[in-house]
Symmetry: C2
Subunit: 152 residues, 2 copies
């Protein structure tokens, strides 16, 4: 796939990622390393919690979302995350769920400090195989401009 530059995007444009299937093993491995809480670590213990079964760490969902976003947008030299707001997890992610990310371009502007780059504001919505929203977030990232469009 061709690499993407700021100049290739339009405000309001939407992108659909591929699917990522989350396994029980991955949920437990991520939790052991980064979020060792009972509802992320062990199916039997998780059945006794309010979730009535194993759920993925929200940070695992965020990391999977990043993977799907990066693969879909494929920015030339990468997208440098500047910040994230309104990160929410309205529904739990469970073993076997197939996640997919829709990215909407919210705003585009040039960078004052780095004329070679611009700043894209976007909204990422992550859904499961039933269309239920498992994560929403707004983010800003620094991405490269095409060199033939840089005038200052």
């Amino acid at each position: 796939m061709n690499e993407r530059y700021l100049d290739d995007l339009k405000v309001g444009e939407r992108f659909q990622s591929g699917q990522y299937i989350v396994t029980e093993e991955e949920i437990i491995n991520f939790a052991r390393e980064f979020d060792p809480q009972p509802f992320h670590l062990d199916s039997a213990v998780a059945r006794q919690t309010m979730f009535q079964g194993l759920i993925a760490s929200g940070w695992h969902t965020a990391a999977i979302t990043m993977r799907l976003f990066v693969q879909t947008l494929n920015f030339a030299e990468g997208a440098i995350g500047l910040g994230v707001d309104e990160l929410r997890w309205p529904n739990a992610v469970r073993p076997g769920d197939a996640l997919q990310v829709e990215t909407e371009i919210v705003d585009l502007r040039m960078s004052r400090s780095k004329p070679s780059h611009g700043i894209v504001r976007l909204r990422n919505v992550t859904v499961n195989q039933r269309g239920e929203i498992v994560q929403t977030m707004s983010a800003s990232a620094l991405v490269l401009r095409r060199s033939d469009t840089i005038t200052q």
Copy 2:
């Protein structure tokens, strides 16, 4: 260490986590799985980027922060993340950095829908071994109340 409940916290209270040393291998492994961008994947390639060397994914920093936070606060039956705002990465995390998290309790209130629980609002600031801030965030989490304090 004793498990912590909502009732044990005070607004304005601060907690210091232990240290977590981030290795080059971990940075690359996390990036391969979740954030496959040139400045996270390969030291030689990363030297050619604006970072002039390998840096960790912001989502890796966020995940390490969660680990340090969970271990330090040690909530009874865990803390259920409700949302995160103002997640920022003002400085890059590099191989060998020793990260530490300071948690400040910003607000405490009872949950209306779940009288057994309350909602803690907090601010997590993650610093490296030189005291430079590598991540800031505000978060809300649902945590358990001591059963002898629940009146409604």
